[in-house]
C-alpha cells in the first residue's frame, strides 16, 4: 500500500506545483493579488506531499519492502539500517526524488522567509521554482518512478553499490544537491527580475544570501566528494577530472563567479545583465550535472540508451529551461542593464577579471567533459579527453585569480588607489619570495612545491594585511561585518587549499609494491612492514584484511589495516587504511594476492606518503565557512522599513511595465 500512497503523493505534488507555477506568475502579470496569494499555500502543500513521498520511500527501505522494485534493487536483509536510508539516493530514481525533496526544502524556506518581499516579486520567484518543480515531478512520474512494483516479490533484495557503503556517502549527495538545487533560488530571483523588468537592484541584495548558502553547500559537497574519492575509491587520488566530478565542479566555478558578480551588482548596480546571465548558467549547469551523473549518459558515454524516454525528456527539459531563460534574457536584459561606471583599476575590474577566468574555466571543463559526445556526434571515433588537458589549462586560468586575490579588499569600488596597492604588492611579494626561498631548502628544489608555498603566502599575507588594517582603522564592533569576515575566511581558505594541492601533488611518494609477510619498504622516511593478511567478517561483507606496521627510525607510528571486501553480490571493494596527520597522511591499500589460492602469501600493495593533503580539504571547508558567514550579514536581513523605500518605486515601475 505504501508505494501507491507515495505515487499518489507525487501526483498531488505535481498538481500543486502546476498551481504554484501558473497562477502566481499570471497574477503578478495581471496584478491580481488573489492569484499571487496562491503561491505560498501551493508551495506548502507541494512540500507536504513531496516530504510524504520521500518518507514513504525511506519507510519502504527500512521495512525491507522488496515488492518495490527500487528497494529490491538497492538493498538486502543484511544491509545495516543507516545504509538502507542512504540507499534511497543510491541510484537514479531515488536521487531524483532526493532532488525534488531538496528543491521543496528551499522553496519552503523561501516561502517562509519571503514575507517581506514585494508581493509581485515573491509571487514570481515562487512561480519560477514551481515551474522547475513541475519539470522534475513529471520526470519522476513519467520516466523514473521509484515506487514501481516488483511482482512476484523476491525473498531478498540485491545490494547497494558497495562504493556507496561508506559514512562519507551518507551526506555527500544530499549536501551536493543542496548546492545544485540552491542555485535554482538565484535563478528564480533572476528570472523574476527579468519578468518584472526590475529597475532597482534591490532584488540582488535579497538573492545574495541564498546564493551564498547554496554555494557554500556545493563547496562542502565537492569537498566531501573529493574526500570520498580519496578514502573510498581506494587509490589515494583526490581529484580525477572525471566527468562526474566535473559535473559538480562546473556549477561551482560559475557559482563562484556569480557570488562575486552579485556583490558588484548589489553595491554598484553594474554588471546587472551579467549577474543574471551567470545565475542562468549556474542553474543550467546544475541541471546538466544532475542529469549527466544520474541518467547514465556518462557511464555509457553517448547514449540515453537505458530508457530513450528519459533521455528525450531530459533534453526537452534542458532546452525549455536554458532556451526559455536565455530568450527571456535576450528580450529583457537591455532594460535592466545600467549602473555606475568604473575605472580600470577598481574592485569591479578585478572581480570582472576573476569572473572571466571562472567562466572560461567552466567552459573549458564543459568542453572537455562533453567532448566524447561531440566527437561521437561528428563521427570522429571513440574519444576520451585525458586529465592532462584539464591539468594544464585549469592552473593557467586560475593563476590570474590567485595573483589578484590579495588586492581585492584594498581596491575601492569605482576607482582604486595605486599607492596602497603598490604597498600591498611589495609586502606580499617580499613575504612570498622569502618563504619560497626558505621552503626551497625543504623540498629538494621541487618547483611546484616552491610555487605552492609562494602562492599561498602571497594570498595569505594579502588577507592578513587587510585584517590588520581593519583592526587598526575601524572602531570595535565595526571591524569585521559578517559579509567581510566571510570573504576573508574564504580567501584564507584559498591559501590553505593552495598549500594542500601543490605540496601534496609535488611531494607525495607512492609505491606499488609486491610484499611478502615480514617484508619492509621505506617511503618518505617511514618504514612500512607488511605482517600478512587474514580473513575477517562484516554485516554484509567478508574481507581479506592486511596488517601493516609503520615505524619511523625504529619508533612505532601506526598499525594500519587495509581491507579487500567482498560484498553479498560478489562485488569487490578496496578499503584503504589511512593514518592522518596535519603535515602528512600515510595511506595503505591492498591490491591483490600474488597467488589467489594463498592469501597468506605475498600481496600487491600501494603505499603512499602524502604531505599536507589534508590542507586542501581544510581550505575547501574554510571557503564553505566563508559562504555561510557572509550569508549571515545583517544587511541581507530584509526589514519592512527598508523594503518600503525600495519597493514603492519598483512597484510603480512594474505597474508602468504592465500597462505598456
Amino acid at each position: 500500500m505504501t508505494p501507491e500512497l507515495g505515487q499518489i503523493a507525487l501526483i498531488l505534488a505535481l498538481l500543486l506545483a502546476l498551481a504554484q507555477s501558473i497562477l502566481p506568475i499570471v497574477g503578478a502579470w495581471k496584478n491580481n493579488s488573489a492569484m499571487m496569494a496562491v503561491a505560498r499555500p501551493a508551495a506548502f502543500g507541494q512540500g507536504f506531499f513531496v516530504v510524504m513521498a520521500f518518507v514513504l520511500l525511506v519507510w519502504a527501505f527500512l521495512h525491507f519492502d522488496f515488492s518495490v522494485q527500487y528497494v529490491a534493487d538497492n538493498s538486502n536483509l543484511a544491509l545495516p539500517w543507516y545504509y538502507r536510508i542512504t540507499a534511497v539516493w543510491g541510484a537514479h530514481e531515488g536521487s531524483m526524488l532526493l532532488w525534488i525533496f531538496i528543491l521543496n526544502v528551499w522553496t519552503l524556506a523561501l516561502a517562509l522567509f519571503s514575507g517581506q518581499l514585494p508581493e509581485a516579486f515573491a509571487a514570481r520567484v515562487l512561480g519560477v521554482l514551481g515551474i522547475i518543480s513541475v519539470g522534475f515531478l513529471a520526470f519522476i512520474l513519467f520516466t523514473s518512478d521509484p515506487f514501481g512494483r516488483l511482482i512476484p516479490m523476491p525473498p531478498d533484495g540485491g545490494d547497494l553499490n558497495p562504493v556507496l557503503q561508506d559514512p562519507g556517502m551518507t551526506f555527500h549527495p544530499p549536501v551536493i544537491y543542496m548546492g545544485y538545487v540552491g542555485f535554482s533560488v538565484a535563478f528564480a530571483f533572476s528570472i523574476a527580475a527579468l519578468l518584472g523588468g526590475e529597475l532597482e537592484q534591490a532584488w540582488v541584495r535579497w538573492a545574495r544570501p541564498w546564493t551564498n548558502i547554496a554555494w557554500a553547500f556545493l563547496t562542502c559537497g565537492i569537498v566531501a566528494g573529493s574526500w570520498w574519492a580519496y578514502a573510498e575509491l581506494g587509490w589515494g587520488g583526490w581529484w580525477f577530472w572525471d566527468p562526474v566530478e566535473n559535473a559538480s565542479f562546473m556549477p561551482w566555478l560559475v557559482g563562484t563567479a556569480l557570488i562575486h558578480a552579485q556583490a558588484v551588482t548589489e553595491k554598484r548596480g553594474s554588471l546587472r545583465a551579467w549577474t543574471i546571465l551567470l545565475s542562468i548558467f549556474a542553474f543550467s549547469l546544475s541541471l546538466l550535472g544532475t542529469f549527466l551523473v544520474r541518467s547514465g549518459v556518462l557511464t555509457s558515454v553517448h547514449s540515453f540508451a537505458s530508457d530513450p524516454r528519459r533521455g528525450l525528456f531530459i533534453l526537452c527539459f534542458l532546452i525549455v529551461v536554458v532556451g526559455g531563460s536565455l530568450l527571456l534574457y535576450a528580450l529583457r536584459a537591455p532594460k535592466v542593464a545600467g549602473g555606475k561606471p568604473f575605472a580600470v583599476v577598481s574592485r569591479e575590474s578585478a572581480i570582472l577579471v576573476g569572473n572571466l577566468m571562472f567562466t572560461v574555466a567552466a567552459a573549458m571543463v564543459l568542453l572537455g567533459t562533453l567532448f566524447p559526445l561531440i566527437g561521437d556526434a561528428l563521427n570522429l571515433g571513440k574519444i576520451s579527453v585525458g586529465p592532462p588537458y584539464f591539468g594544464l589549462l585549469f592552473p593557467l586560468l586560475m593563476l590570474p585569480i590567485v595573483l589578484l586575490l590579495p588586492f581585492g579588499p584594498y581596491l575601492r569600488w569605482g576607482k582604486g588607489e595605486p599607492q596602497i596597492l603598490k604597498r600591498v604588492m611589495l609586502r606580499a611579494l617580499l613575504a612570498a619570495v622569502a618563504c619560497a626561498i626558505v621552503a626551497a631548502f625543504f623540498v629538494d628544489g621541487k618547483l611546484k612545491a616552491i610555487a605552492g608555498v609562494a602562492a599561498a603566502v602571497w594570498v595569505a599575507v594579502g588577507v592578513l594585511l587587510y585584517v590588520v588594517k581593519r583592526w587598526r582603522e575601524m572602531p570595535r564592533g565595526r571591524r569585521y561585518p559578517a559579509e567581510m569576515a566571510g570573504m576573508l575566511f574564504a580567501h584564507a581558505g584559498v591559501a590553505i587549499f593552495l598549500i594542500g594541492v601543490l605540496l601534496s601533488e609535488s611531494l607525495s611518494a607512492t609505491s606499488d609494491v609486491r610484499m611478502a609477510p615480514g617484508e619492509t619498504k621505506t617511503i618518505g622516511g617511514y618504514d612500512f612492514r607488511f605482517d600478512g593478511v587474514r580473513e575477517t567478517q562484516g554485516p554484509n561483507w567478508r574481507a581479506d584484511q592486511g596488517t601493516v606496521t609503520v615505524t619511523r627510525d625504529g619508533k612505532p607510528v601506526a598499525v594500519m589495516q587495509p581491507q579487500k571486501r567482498t560484498y553479498t553480490r560478489e562485488q569487490i571493494q578496496t578499503e584503504s587504511a589511512i593514518y592522518p596527520g596535519l603535515t602528512r597522511d600515510l595511506y595503505v591499500a591492498l591490491g591483490e594476492p600474488m597467488d589467489k589460492q594463498h592469501i597468506d602469501g605475498a600481496w600487491a600493495l600501494r603505499l603512499y606518503y602524502k604531505p599536507f593533503i589534508r590542507w586542501l580539504w581544510f581550505g575547501g571547508l574554510m571557503m564553505m565557512l566563508g559562504g555561510f558567514v557572509s550569508a549571515c550579514d545583517r544587511r541581507f536581513r530584509i526589514r519592512r522599513t527598508a523594503i518600503v523605500d525600495v519597493a514603492e518605486p519598483m512597484r510603480t515601475s512594474v505597474l508602468a511595465e504592465n500597462r505598456t
Partner: protein, 155 residues
C-alpha cells in the same frame, strides 16, 4: 571617449583576449590529450598506427592472466570477436579485473604487444561500457548496433 564606452571597450578587449588565449590553449591541450578507443582487431588492421597513445578495449581472455613471481608485472590477452592483443602492465590491477571481464587499457604499442599505463575495469560486473560495446560491434560487423542510434540519429 566617454566612460561607458571606454568601459565597454575594456570589457570587450578583455573578453577577446581571454577567449583567444583560452581557445588556443584549449585546442592545443585537446590535441595532446585525445585518446581514441580501439579493439584488438582494429589495432591489428592498422587503425591505431597513427596514434602513439590510445585506449585498447576488449575482454580479458580466460586463462591468459599471468603474474610475475618477483615483481608486479602482469601479462594478459585482450580479445574481441576477431582479434587478440597481448598486454603488459606493471602495477595493481583493478578490483574487478578477471577472466572474461571487459576492460579498457590506456597505453602504447611496443612491437607486437601493448604496454598499458592504466587498466580500468568497471565497477559493475554486468556492465560493459557503451562505447566499448559499440567499438566491438563495429569491429565485428562493421556496422553499428541498433542501440547506437537511439540518442537521435547518430549513424
Amino acid at each position: 571617449m566617454n566612460p561607458t564606452r571606454k568601459r565597454r571597450l575594456i570589457v570587450v578587449l578583455l573578453v577577446v583576449a581571454a577567449a583567444t588565449v583560452a581557445v588556443g590553449l584549449g585546442v592545443f591541450a585537446l590535441q595532446q590529450n585525445m585518446n581514441y578507443l580501439f579493439t584488438p582487431s582494429q589495432v591489428q588492421s592498422g587503425a591505431a598506427s597513427n596514434h602513439k597513445t590510445f585506449r585498447l578495449g576488449g575482454m580479458v581472455k580466460a586463462g591468459s592472466i599471468q603474474r610475475s613471481k618477483t615483481s608486479l608485472l602482469a601479462t594478459f590477452t585482450v580479445v574481441d570477436a576477431d582479434g587478440a592483443m597481448p598486454v603488459e602492465y606493471t602495477g595493481i590491477l583493478p578490483d574487478l579485473f578477471r577472466d572474461n571481464q571487459s576492460v579498457i587499457a590506456t597505453g602504447h604499442m611496443d612491437n607486437a604487444h601493448f604496454v598499458a599505463t592504466e587498466v580500468l575495469a568497471k565497477h559493475d560486473e554486468t556492465y560493459m561500457p557503451k562505447e566499448l560495446k559499440d567499438a566491438m560491434a563495429k569491429a565485428h560487423k562493421d556496422k553499428p548496433m541498433p542501440e547506437g542510434s537511439d540518442a537521435g540519429g547518430s549513424p
